[in-house]
Symmetry: C2
């Protein structure tokens, strides 16, 4: 059992049959075709040589197949992680502290180690602190920065910058150096890909294909763009017209190597590696979960950490870059009928063949073509409706989203992410530090008690019933003290205070002490403290504490019983709302 | 009204009469007598010249009387803040970056500014994040460090160190340089003070005093110790025997000055100033609240921030050191009958007279006497029973306490405090990220639903009822997704899932999205999602969202209604516990 959890192939390999293998092979073929241009493009986005993208689509797929818990996730370079890699490495590369390839390897290794460690320590829950609005704001802003960073390849100019402001400044100053032929290639690819996305499926269906093959074929548009532009570049000698091509890249498989240990470099890249790991994990888990749910399968987030960690370690020892489970390729893998992670292994074989045999051809690939595929891919990540929905639903959530977006666009993606998480945790702590509480009165003629300021209820001037609608712990313990003392200070006739606790799921040591303080202070002020409707597990813990042994009043099972015991019927009055 | 809140004297000054004035004057006299040795001692503890302690007991009292909201709080130097001041300045003074007096002034000014800013922004709730166990661990550990730091004055040796380890090492290596006469003075004072604390009141009562005067008189033991040791030092020329005396200090009132602006220094001291401000605030508010409650008065925490901020600014412009409302002096002030903050102003006048007339006498005061008063004062802060109580009640709270203590003793008080807060917030976030939830079934023959694993209830294989016992927000939204998908994956017969929400007080944007995702995923898996017992305010916000318009099932007012609609009675079964 334990082995099976940590090595998921033990779960499916014994029952693996010819039928499954065939389906996996077909899916692998389709995914391979999609992966090649994507891998090249994301290497370019990360500022790395094209072959690094291919290398990152080999061993990581095998490592994930061994340790990952999703059956259909497809692992490899993705847009957001490529941008994060570029941003993390840019200052170090500029300063000459490290070459980009070594830096990417270190990032992959380190985020792999971090993910595996988090998985073994079962820290998957930490990813929950990336709230949806923060992720959404981060992804949208990253997509804008990614698109802006690729404009230079479309125009054939040189720009630099890690955020939108810098990129726009840089673009404005170099715009006049644009190359017409490059723009033609880039513009044509962009147009073709946008048309294919919008109309491709419909055109193919009208040509006689059934829906699913048409959908899959439409998704292979990038590979056609890549093929056609390579042929054109070769035949028309576009390189001599100033169109930048990928150029010669080493043929063959990467050799397995370990980078040298450079403590200062690792320290410098630690935060980036952590964020790359966590962002990749969040993206991957949400893709993996949505696919698993369709087949009523499950994925185990802590095992996913280990699987993705292994994939990144695989990338790190084979000259790759940080990877994770990508949305588009996983959906293609699923739609193409992949049954098990073996499909990933087969796809790795496909990429390996491409690495061995196709590299001479890839040399003719225009960078503008890759830039166009990146821009079209990330355009779909820009989610303005999500921002509008969030604004409508919750201003504070929108605040966290907006801050993440503004800082990602205007400063850096790491700052945006860290500030967004800090703000959303801060807002959450703020909210829980002032819990809802209400003075309640009896609904006439019943045993029910309701908020005196919302309902017409009976109250009695010598007895106050205060209902607390939250667990009690350090962040709101003093708030409760203040609330109670305020109540007592405002009402000199008060003789009894009943804390109504049905919604108190927890009382921590701070809150316990606050309750003891409240009991003591009320006593010196001549007011008796009672509790009512304390939940079973809370009561179990309170037994044996000073609070119960020194409580000036009683613990009532129901609020109504406290009412019967404490009030003087003649003094009661009805509140008007 | 608004003016009255920001300038509390407007509330009491108009009704101020001769009776109140008399009581305030008597209280001021007693407090002054207590304040003089305390002020001198805490200046010594902070590593500052004796007069700084006196200066810090002048203007701050007046400033607090103007802006503070407590009627009986007595402001001045306190033990923990003095230690924090010493610790913050020690490295800078050693490095020659600043002299101790200027450093203390900067700390007072900066923490004053921080407190005023927090008060104006109404950030008083931030202090709640110092949980009781963290404060208790911090105070106990600080008291040990304080006592250890004063041992050198008792022995007449030179030690240094910011934590217990360093102090013990330093003591061990200099122990042989001790001075007999110093030890005699220190030991005698220590013995006298301990006896006075233990037996003083009883002895005075047996001599014929009534309880309250006896109690107050016993508390003036330090001033007798100070007087007697000064006379002895003068008559026996203890200085020439190697007993270190306070020595000559400038007579007269401090001049009002502003320190020069030194950006690097302010930056260096920023965290220390923040911590000094917040710790002082927490100490002061808890003292102030406990005294106010006795008379059914109230204090306003945000106004307290302004009052304490003003007091520290007062200290900063008059050559003082960081101050706050001290426990012992406030209790004395209260017990002596202080009615209004005017008592504080009168005490300031008393200290001013002492500063003008008593300084020649103070020169003869042995440092060992002050050390003994400090040790006796802080000994009462060491609270071992609190640690035992916390250990018994909650292991995780004890963990935060222990970490604070160990780091305060072994590294530095700032590290201890910051790590303690971080750990307790982290533990809290961890707990809330995995909320309690339970699959519930119907208690046979009733409309009530209970946890299937605890009670014998009816369930139906095609319908699951999942009760969630916590508000839903980003930290636990994904947890809910996992819980639901797990439920569905484990049970292929399931057709309906009802989320029972009576304890859900809040649904943030992340949780809303998770609910939408759950709805969609359940739909693709052939399961209908229903909600029941959604609270009114939550329902109000959900209306108009995609969740409700696309919900595959219904929203039921009660779980029983959902039960009636969804189950097939023939398929029901009873669970056995």
């Amino acid at each position: 059992m334990r082995f099976q959890r940590y090595l998921p192939p033990l779960q499916w390999l014994s029952g693996y049959d010819r039928n499954q293998a065939t389906k996996d092979l077909v899916a692998a073929l389709i995914v391979t075709v999609l992966l090649i241009p994507q891998s090249l493009a994301y290497a370019q986005l990360a500022g790395l040589p094209a072959q690094v993208g291919l290398y990152a689509s080999l061993l990581p797929l095998v490592a994930y197949a061994l340790f990952g818990s999703s059956r259909t996730l497809s692992v490899g370079p993705v847009a957001v992680l490529s941008l994060m890699t570029a941003a993390a490495l840019a200052p170090l590369v500029r300063a000459g502290a490290v070459d980009a390839v070594t830096g990417a390897i270190v990032l992959a290794l380190m985020s792999g180690l971090i993910l595996v460690a988090m998985g073994l320590l079962r820290l998957g829950f930490l990813a929950n602190f990336l709230s949806h609005p923060v992720i959404s704001g981060f992804v949208t802003a990253s997509a804008v920065v990614i698109a802006a960073s690729q404009v230079k390849h479309l125009l054939g100019i040189n720009t630099s910058g890690g955020n939108l402001l810098e990129l726009i400044q840089s673009l404005a100053s170099t715009m006049d150096q644009g190359n017409g032929a490059t723009l033609a290639v880039g513009g044509a690819t962009l147009g073709f890909l946008l048309l294919a996305r919008q109309w491709g499926k419909r055109v193919l269906v009208s040509l006689g294909l059934t829906t699913r093959p048409a959908e899959l074929l439409a998704k292979t548009a990038p590979i056609w763009a890549v093929c056609v532009s390579m042929v054109l570049a070769w035949q028309l000698e576009l390189g001599s017209l100033g169109v930048r091509l990928v150029g010669e890249i080493p043929a063959g498989l990467p050799s397995l190597t370990l980078v040298g240990w450079d403590w200062a470099l690792w320290q410098e890249l630690a935060l980036s590696a952590l964020l790359i790991g966590v962002v990749g994990f969040v993206e991957s888990v949400s893709v993996g979960q949505s696919l698993a749910a369709k087949r009523r399968e499950r994925i185990d987030p802590n095992q996913e950490l280990i699987g993705l960690g292994a994939a990144n370690l695989g990338a790190g020892v084979s000259g790759g870059m940080p990877v994770t489970g990508g949305f588009s390729r996983s959906v293609v893998n699923y739609d193409a009928g992949a049954q098990t992670p073996a499909a990933g292994v087969f796809a790795a074989v496909g990429i390996a063949l491409a690495t061995v045999f196709l590299t001479p051809v890839i040399a003719y690939l225009p960078q503008a073509t890759l830039a166009a595929t990146i821009i079209v891919a990330v355009a779909s990540l820009i989610d303005v409706p999500a921002a509008i929905r969030t604004w409508r639903y919750s201003r504070s959530d929108f605040g966290a989203m907006l801050m993440t977006m503004v800082l990602t666009l205007g400063h850096s993606i790491e700052t945006g992410l860290v500030a967004g998480v800090a703000l959303s945790v801060g807002l959450f702590l703020y909210r829980t530090s002032r819990p809802h509480s209400a003075v309640v009165g009896r609904v006439p003629g019943t045993e029910h008690f309701r908020n005196v300021s919302r309902h017409q209820v009976e109250t009695c001037p010598t007895v106050a019933f205060l209902r607390v609608d939250e667990s009690l712990y350090f962040a709101n313990a003093r708030f409760l003290e203040e609330r109670v003392l305020e109540l007592v200070a405002d009402d000199p006739a008060l003789r009894h205070l009943v804390l109504v606790c049905p919604a108190v799921n927890q009382v921590d040591a701070s809150a316990l002490e606050s309750l003891e303080v409240i009991n003591e202070r009320l006593q010196t002020a001549g007011v008796t403290l009672h509790l009512s409707e304390v939940k079973g597990p809370v009561m179990d813990r309170l037994r044996g504490t000073e609070l119960l042994s020194q409580l000036s009043g009683e613990v009532f099972l129901s609020t109504y019983r406290a009412w019967q015991r404490l009030i003087e019927p003649s003094a009661c009055q009805r509140t008007s709302v």
